[in-house]
């Protein structure tokens, strides 16, 4: 069974701080996705990474896929209250449905 471990589970920071959240596995994935979920809503896709070592940027968010395609990180620069939410990583490989991590709940305080 493929598992994705996300850390930290909870993160509370002040506006303007930087942060990194992690998504780790012992399994290799052909692609890895990051989603953000706000209260009362479904998860929304932020990015997909498919190549080992790949780095993608989305405004103040930087996503990296590990060289071995077993892990990923999400770095937020100068966090804002609008970044508050649950961040989920999900991995895909072979012919199986996506596997989701349990998420990192981020709170950015103004």
């Amino acid at each position: 069974t493929q598992l994705l471990e996300q850390s930290p589970q909870f993160l509370s920071i002040q506006e303007g701080e930087n942060l990194t959240v992690y998504c780790n596995s012992s399994s290799v994935f052909s692609s890895l996705q990051w989603y953000r979920q706000e209260p009362g809503e479904g998860p929304v896709l932020l990015v997909t990474v498919v190549t080992g070592g790949e780095v993608k940027k989305l405004k103040r968010l930087t996503f990296q896929f590990g060289d071995a395609r077993k892990d990923s990180s999400l770095h937020i620069t100068a966090a804002q209250p609008g970044d508050t939410g649950l961040y989920l990583c999900a991995g895909g490989s072979g012919n199986t449905p996506l596997v989701f991590g349990k998420g990192t709940r981020l709170s950015v305080i103004a």
Binding site: S31, T48, S93, G103
Partner: protein, 113 residues
């Protein structure tokens, strides 16, 4: 936003009663999924479909059944609801394969009393 509609959005039901949740898509995507989301457990796959009348079990399928008679509709049935099935249920769709980007509905909050 992907065209996915879940109904109902909220439901309270009694233990032992059958419950059906509906997911409707307007994207003509091949794959449809049902997840439940619970504190401490994240998103867990219940069942998924890879075509009309083609379904498969997920991680937590016991006590649930699904049907897909049309491309656009995917129904989740709790055969005899139990309190442990109190949860938020999400439908998702994807187009290309089982593990490409998923688009989620807004969720159904189900309470079994």
């Amino acid at each position: 936003d992907a065209g996915i509609t879940q109904s109902p959005r909220h439901k309270v039901t009694e233990t032992g009663t059958p419950v059906t949740l509906r997911c409707h898509q307007t994207e003509n995507h091949r794959y449809m999924y049902w997840y439940r989301q619970d504190p401490g457990h994240g998103l867990r796959l219940i069942h998924y479909s890879y075509g009309v009348k083609d379904t498969d079990k997920g991680e937590v399928s016991d006590g649930y059944s699904v049907s897909r008679s049309k491309t656009e509709d995917f129904l989740l049935t709790l055969e005899s609801a139990t309190s442990s099935q109190t949860s938020v249920y999400f439908c998702a769709i994807s187009g290309t394969s089982r593990n490409t980007e998923a688009f989620f509905g807004q969720g159904t909050r189900l309470t079994v009393v």
